[in-house]
């Protein structure tokens, strides 16, 4: 590796102030520091520094996301063949391959666009390339449906990086979580393509397989399958629950409504499916097990706050139990706390998005409140709002906005305490 070190040393003067490619220094620096921890030594202040840096911290989060990514890839293929009724013909490996073909381009596009925009801003503003997008670039693919067109990923990513992060000053300065902003952008800009029951599973005919050795029989089967696709095969757990509200409202008689609701409730996914995650949903959000593995790493390394996770869980439990007690409609009455927590994007959002240290509350008391309200609001939106089957995204974004306010009051409390102490002291004299 000595030759690489020499190469970096040799190239560096060209990019430094007064060098030929001075403007491109951030780009050079970005690549050089990706390859090597730089040889800079301490000048003032402490003489030794901890081995942790932002690259390592971000890398830890990416490692924590790997189980979700791998499971998401397989599940995408699994759901696809399940919808077509071809699970027997296409085994684990083929499911994995189909999933990879669907998911990996989204990952690549997300990184390419996001990093491209970041590089452009860094060169324009002359600040070093920062690591924040390494995580956002992985989060964006995991919170969109596998069938999201790539051009939408491009626009959403570019929007999030520019308007959520760079205009505020880059990594560490943003108010909202960039990945969730990308998701919200898709959700509100392309409601037709981004909601409903059909978006979660790609149920188009698998190209290429029709020409397989036993192509003829397969072709027939595929043809049959496509003909018989159930329009709601791709419905997520949450949209099923959500549709119970409409069912009650739509039904001419109460009895008819009740029968419809029972039908829907009978068709929901089991708790095991929710925990293991082989059900429709955004790519990375479905498996509670994969998320919890990631959560374990984040909590062990201290990269994510356990206070946010714990209070978020508590908030969701609290709200669900209130709804269960109120039981004003079948959704409230029949969906229990464990169902709510393991369904949809709640766990994923709580573990990976709510704990983003930049957009979350910064004080420890603030974090507890912040997490609690995310849990409460997420469940409230799910149950109350027929237009939004999932409430986690909006809950986190809302609390991102409120976090500085929470911190403000916590800090003001500390200042007040100090003032009171000073007053008490001076009155004793």
């Amino acid at each position: 590796m000595k030759f690489l070190e020499k190469l970096v040393d040799k190239m560096e003067p060209n990019f430094e102030k007064g060098g030929k490619y001075e403007k491109w220094f951030p780009l050079f620096d970005g690549f050089a520091t990706f390859l090597f921890t730089p040889k800079h030594t301490t000048k003032k202040g402490v003489h030794i520094r901890d081995a942790v840096d932002l690259k390592r911290t971000m890398n830890t989060v990416i490692q924590a996301l790997v189980p979700c990514l791998l499971f998401g890839i397989w599940n995408t293929g699994f759901q696809h063949y399940k919808a077509l009724g071809l699970l027997e013909e296409f085994g684990f490996l083929e499911q994995l391959i189909f999933g990879a073909i669907e998911v990996l381009p989204i990952v690549v596009v997300s990184y390419a666009v996001g990093l491209g925009v970041e590089f452009a801003f860094c060169i324009y503003k002359g600040h070093p390339i920062e690591e924040g997008f390494l995580v956002s670039g992985m989060l964006i693919p995991l919170i969109v449906p596998a069938s999201t067109p790539l051009w939408m990923v491009v626009i959403a990513t570019a929007f999030a990086v520019v308007f959520c992060k760079e205009v505020f000053g880059g990594t560490g300065m943003n108010i909202l979580n960039p990945a969730l902003t990308a998701r919200a952008f898709l959700f509100f800009s392309y409601p037709k393509q981004m909601s409903g029951d059909a978006v979660w599973v790609d149920s188009s005919i698998p190209e290429g397989y029709v020409t397989a050795a036993d192509g003829v029989t397969l072709l027939n089967k595929v043809g049959e399958a496509v003909g018989s696709i159930d329009a709601t095969a791709g419905a997520t757990q949450l949209s099923k629950w959500n549709s119970t509200i409409a069912a009650v409202n739509d039904a001419a008689t109460e009895a008819a409504g009740k029968i419809k609701v029972d039908e829907i409730m009978d068709s929901t996914y089991s708790l095991w499916e929710q925990i293991a995650g082989h059900m429709p949903g955004s790519i990375g959000e479905t498996s509670a097990i994969a998320i919890l593995i990631g959560a374990g790493l984040l909590l062990h390394t201290g990269v994510a706050s356990w206070k946010i996770m714990a209070s978020g869980l508590f908030g969701a439990l609290f709200m669900t139990l209130i709804f269960n007690t109120a039981a004003a409609n079948p959704y409230m009455a029949q969906v229990g706390p464990l169902d709510q927590i393991t369904a949809g994007g709640f766990l994923f959002g709580l573990v990976f998005m709510a704990t983003d240290p930049v957009s979350a509350a910064q004080t420890e008391v603030g974090k507890v409140l912040y997490g609690f309200f995310i849990g409460v609001i997420a469940i409230m939106i799910r149950v109350f709002n027929p237009a939004y089957p999932e409430g986690v995204m909006l809950a986190i974004l809302f609390m991102n906005v409120m976090a500085p306010l929470l911190d403000h009051y916590v800090i003001a409390g500390n200042i007040k305490e100090r003032l009171a102490r000073a007053k008490l002291h001076s009155s004793n004299h």
């Binding site: 090597f36 202040g45 942790v52 840096d53 911290t57 560490g172 062990h300 990269v303 974090k367 500390n414």
Partner: protein
């Protein structure tokens, strides 16, 4: 024990090169230097010029802002050179020793009858006043103030810090006189002396431990073989003896009078006097607390007893690059060449020489001079080399992290040979609660630093800038994921508040 305080926040950094418990006299220093820049905020006005003959205790310069505060020569000899830097700022005043060790005689003080005023005058004239510092701001105390308390920390928890029980062995008389004198300044009438609840027994690198038995004989025992031996063996008894004696604060502290003793338990920065003040008698706006280093208390005591200045102290020479780390008996302002010569491990690249510890010390040259307030020298390898994918690999035996993102948490008792590499690049504040976990104070460090950055004095006051000094945040700076210059930011804030409000 009257007061016990347990601190949960903090962290220890274990470095290689703990000083062996032996004291040797440092090679006589031909030239000593006083560095005015050791006294933050002091603008030096010279009293004597090159060529002037001085004795130990002869004033050389005073502070332009407060002409009473004089700085004196630690030795007898002749001022040979005044080293100036940019804009003619005085960097060093070099004094060539004449070896005669003559000293100005200020007359012995009867401590029992001495008043605060006579003590002030004596310490100012003898040039010992600069040893007394004040909080807020960690500057030299204002002689006309009356502090609400005087604090002395009897231990230091920073990396490779000297063991003050050992350093002060046999100096209880000097120490007690120093305490008696300082107690007269305090509104509480006593000195707050803070001792560790339990001291870590620091074995030498080869797992040996040297101690003196009852008869004063030096005994060296090997921890490894001793702990393996059966319980009846002599060395096992010795281990127990060591543990019994050396894990407790020494008698010089526990038997001191005119003090209020508090026991502190916890990791670094529990030994920082600022942390201790915060938990016992926190500073409000407009108040002052004085602090004196524990060894300097003995120096003050010795001066008052004898009437002459003996500017000697024992320092720990430590660090992974020192061949034989041990304690040295040195003169204040000692030239370091004699200490380092032949005592540095061979290496391709010159190591970093630090006067002070690895967190708060000052970089010096190999033939530089000891800092006025420093009780320790640290020599560490420089880290100016690349590290391929250094930010990614989780298992790196030579890297240490207080976080769990590296695997160094698996080996909590391992001592490291850390170098001066920054291990990353400076970034904006991203990670939260990182500093809070390392600062055992009811202060929000990141918010305080941000108020320093935007120069919002109201916010700084509200967030507790009067209670904190850079050394209290040094551990946060070490741990900072974003590699922020924490101490520098806080110092700038303190300087601003001092100019505007004090």
């Amino acid at each position: 024990m009257s007061l016990q305080i347990k601190l949960k926040k903090g962290g220890n950094i274990k470095l290689k090169g703990v000083a062996n418990r032996t004291v040797v006299d440092a090679p006589a220093s031909d030239v000593v230097a006083i560095k005015p820049q050791d006294f933050h905020g002091v603008i030096p006005k010279l009293i004597l010029r090159e060529g002037a003959k001085v004795k130990a205790g002869t004033p050389i310069f005073f502070d332009k802002e407060n002409a009473d505060i004089k700085f004196s020569s630690p030795v007898s000899g002749e001022i040979v050179e005044i080293v100036r830097g940019a804009r003619r700022v005085i960097l060093e005043i070099r004094i060539k020793t004449d070896g005669a060790n003559t000293a100005e005689d200020f007359g012995a003080t009867d401590i029992a009858s001495a008043t605060k005023e006579t003590l002030t005058e004596k310490l100012l004239n003898g040039g010992l006043w600069p040893l007394i510092k004040q909080r807020p701001f960690d500057c030299i105390a204002n002689p006309s103030d009356s502090p609400k308390a005087v604090f002395v920390s009897a231990f230091d928890t920073s990396p490779l810090a000297p063991d003050y029980d050992f350093v002060l062995e046999g100096r209880s008389e000097d120490f007690q006189v120093g305490l008696d004198a300082l107690a007269k300044f305090s509104k509480t009438g006593v000195v707050n002396l803070n001792v560790p609840a339990e001291k870590e027994i620091r074995f030498n690198e080869d797992d040996t431990f040297i101690y003196s038995d009852d008869t004063g004989k030096q005994i060296e025992i090997d921890y490894k073989t001793a702990s393996n031996a059966s319980s009846t063996s002599g060395s096992s008894k010795a281990i127990k003896a060591i543990t019994d004696v050396y894990s407790k604060p020494g008698e010089i502290f526990t038997k001191a009078s005119n003090v209020f003793v508090a026991e502190f338990e916890g990791e670094h920065p529990a030994g920082n006097v600022g942390i201790q003040i915060h938990h016992i008698n926190p500073i409000n706006k407009g108040e002052a607390v004085w602090t004196v280093n524990v060894q300097d208390v003995a120096m003050i005591g010795n001066f008052l007893r004898t009437g002459t200045l003996t500017a000697k102290k024992i320092i720990a020479v430590t660090g992974s690059e020192v061949a034989a780390p041990k304690y040295y008996n040195v003169t204040v302002g000692q030239n370091l060449a004699g200490i380092f010569e032949g005592n540095i491990k061979a290496a391709e690249e010159a190591p970093r020489f630090i006067s002070g510890n690895a967190l708060t010390g000052t970089k010096v040259e190999k033939d530089g001079f000891l800092g006025f307030y420093d009780n320790q020298l640290t020599v560490l390898p420089e880290g100016n080399q690349y590290d391929l994918f250094g930010w990614m690999v989780p298992i790196q035996p030579n890297k240490f992290s207080l976080s769990h993102t590296l695997w160094s948490w698996l080996t909590p008792s391992k001592a490291y040979r850390l170098n001066t590499n920054i291990n990353g690049e400076a970034r904006a504040f991203v990670v939260s609660n990182e500093y809070d976990q390392l600062l055992p104070m009811n202060i929000y460090p990141v918010q305080l630093l941000k108020s320093c950055l935007v120069e919002d004095i109201d916010a700084m006051e509200g967030l507790g800038i009067y209670e904190i000094v850079p050394e209290d945040l040094a551990l946060c700076e070490f741990a900072c994921t974003s590699k922020q210059p924490v101490q520098q930011i806080l110092q700038a804030g303190l300087d601003l508040v001092k100019v505007e409000c004090a």
